[in-house]
């Protein structure tokens, strides 16, 4: 035929135009600096388009896709691969990276994260530390109440609300939580040499031991093992506890403190407390918003370099790309449920293509995630553990005492 009846046919012509920023939607992987021998995005994009067209039936049948459709699918495949791998990295390193200044790692893609995760654990444990009174991050505050010994006013019961709580609440706007009451008998060790403690060694002994007995150099020395001191301390404690009024306290009723024994002299009773607002407030990393890594959305994993993706990765990308091409082609062919032809209509296989594509993309994503999950740090350690057990088992069957000369 002389006239060109194929002039406006929409179909893959057999090859595509040059892959440039104008022919791919985003262009994240264009013009990378790659080493010699590494396949670039541009080359793979172009060759994959030709491969996919052939897998879809070209040149036996027309493929109603043109180069920009293929290129968009290819770029999306790389982006999808990139996304899944980055998600894996985020999950794997979340604990290690939370709280790290963003400026420290502008882009973590392609960097191996070496960390034990301890900084995060320590950070978390500070809150436990507060509860255990072992240097947590909540400031522990101290205050006192006056304990009176006058006969008229000797009090065992002290209203903590009235004496401390209300005043602090007035000043700080927060209720308090009493964590420690310093109401103890004097330490027994201070009375080891107390001649009136019934178990003491008398001052005479201590003066002699220190060289002051009888105003002359020591003339006698008592050599005792340390456990004797400990036994003596224990004896003093038990004596005080059983034969005397034991020092103790309890919280009764509505935040009332009852102390034992009945006070016989005036003193300050010190208490340690937390402000509730200090404990309850959520602690943020100091600094401005987005200054520190806070959640999966701002861990700095960015676009990878296409040419650095290894062979299995590139193969995954190609397979996913083919599935996306099927989906796109199916969508195109299915825009109209039937295609009019002169005097009739035909039904195309768009629906089958889309179903096939959906199945393939799901399977590919699932397989990739499965593979990545196996390489999670915790799973690698488990595998190493199993490997070690297996190795030991195997070695246990190796005959011992074999000498090879």
């Amino acid at each position: 035929m002389s006239a060109n009846l194929d002039a406006d046919r929409v179909r893959w012509p057999g090859s595509g135009s040059l892959v440039t920023s104008g022919s791919v939607p985003f262009g994240y992987y264009l013009k990378e600096s790659c080493s010699a021998g590494e396949s670039t995005f541009e080359n793979d994009c172009s060759s994959s388009a030709m491969w996919a067209a052939k897998r879809l039936g070209y040149p036996i049948v027309d493929i109603e896709l043109i180069d920009v459709n293929f290129y968009a699918c290819f770029e999306e495949s790389v982006l999808e691969y990139n996304r899944v791998v980055n998600e894996f990295n985020i999950v794997n390193n979340m604990a290690d990276l939370t709280g790290v200044p963003q400026s420290q790692f502008p882009n973590l893609t392609g960097l191996g994260v070496k960390s034990t995760g301890l900084p995060f654990v320590v950070q978390l444990s500070k809150q436990y530390g507060s509860e255990a009174l072992v240097n947590g991050e909540t400031p522990l505050k101290r205050n006192f109440i006056y304990v009176s010994s006058s006969m008229a006013g000797s009090e065992q019961l002290y209203d903590l609300n009235k004496l401390i709580g209300d005043e602090i609440e007035h000043l700080t706007g927060s209720r308090i939580e009493i964590r420690r009451v310093f109401h103890h008998r004097p330490p027994a060790i201070a009375r080891v040499y107390d001649p009136f403690s019934m178990t003491g060694m008398s001052y005479g002994n201590i003066l002699s031991e220190m060289g002051f007995g009888a105003y002359s150099p020591a003339t006698q020395f008592l050599m005792t093992p340390l456990f004797e001191d400990l036994l003596r301390v224990q004896a003093i404690d038990l004596n005080d506890m059983i034969r005397k009024s034991n020092y103790s306290f309890e919280i009764v009723g509505n935040n009332k403190l009852r102390i034992f024994p009945i006070p016989t002299h005036n003193f300050k009773l010190w208490v340690d407390y937390y402000l509730e607002k200090d404990k309850n407030i959520t602690n943020f990393y100091s600094g401005s918003r987005y200054e520190y890594v806070s959640d999966p959305s701002d861990i700095p994993y960015e676009y990878c370099k296409y040419c650095k993706i290894n062979q299995p990765g590139k193969q995954w990308i190609k397979k996913y790309f083919l599935a996306l091409c099927k989906e796109t082609l199916g969508r195109i062919l299915q825009k109209y449920s039937t295609v009019p032809i002169p005097g009739g209509e035909v039904t195309l296989d768009g629906a089958e293509l889309r179903a096939e594509a959906k199945d393939e993309t799901s399977t590919l994503i699932e397989k990739l995630r499965d593979m990545l999950e196996k390489s999670l740090r915790v799973n690698q350690l488990e595998n190493k553990d199993k490997e070690s057990d297996a190795m030991n088992k195997m070695l246990s069957r190796v005959p011992l005492h074999i000498y090879i000369g």
């Binding site: 035929m1 009846l5 046919r9 109603e64 825009k335 032809i341 002169p342 035909v346």
Partner: protein, 190 residues
């Protein structure tokens, strides 16, 4: 005899003003970017055209030759009929793809003029092909198919995508098997 040079397809020929759109130049045949209606846009039409082209050209591949009657070259008698000694004159054939829907061929023996054979065939052309090849089928035109000649009896142009006349999709031609003696196309024994 050369092929016709004037536009044969009425919608592209200003000689047929009835196909224009109220004389407007921004719509209709004078603006090939104009396609009314929300469905079947130009891109859609191109896609559907591609599928049709593949079906016609690469899958079904029924190619016929069509001969346009050359009225100005045909000598007529006082009744307006072609002179029997000279017959009808046709332009050179062009190739077109189509879908052919054939009825069974039948024979008549009862006629006093001797046995005769009849067959009706419907040829379905893509209108777009007719436009590009500058061929508009008309009554009297001849289709060569299966080494038989079929004369056009009727041309149906009623398949409008989205119901829009500007999106006419086909030209369906009803033909009947014609005798070689009526044509001036094949050299025959005299």
């Amino acid at each position: 005899m050369a092929a016709p040079t004037t536009r044969q397809y009425p919608k592209q020929n200003p000689a047929f003003p009835q196909y224009w759109t109220d004389g407007r130049k921004d719509v209709g045949v004078y603006n090939d970017k104009y396609l009314p209606g929300r469905f079947f846009s130009r891109r859609d039409m191109n896609l559907l055209g591609s599928v049709n082209a593949e079906l016609f050209s690469d899958i079904v591949e029924v190619v016929v030759q069509v001969f346009k009657i050359a009225l100005s070259e045909t000598n007529v008698n006082i009744y307006g009929e072609s002179v029997s000694s000279q017959g009808k004159m046709f332009y050179p054939a062009i190739d077109l793809t189509c879908l052919a829907e054939r009825e069974d061929i039948t024979g008549e023996n009862g006629s006093k003029f001797g046995p005769d054979r009849n067959q009706n065939v419907v040829f379905r052309f893509r209108e777009r092909d007719c436009i590009i090849t500058n061929f508009f089928p008309e009554l009297g035109d001849i289709v060569l198919y299966n080494e038989r000649f079929y004369e056009m009896d009727n041309v149906v142009q009623e398949q409008f995508l989205g119901g829009h006349p500007d999106k006419s999709w086909s030209l369906i031609v009803n033909t009947h098997y014609t005798r070689l003696s009526k044509l001036n196309i094949v050299q025959r024994q005299t």
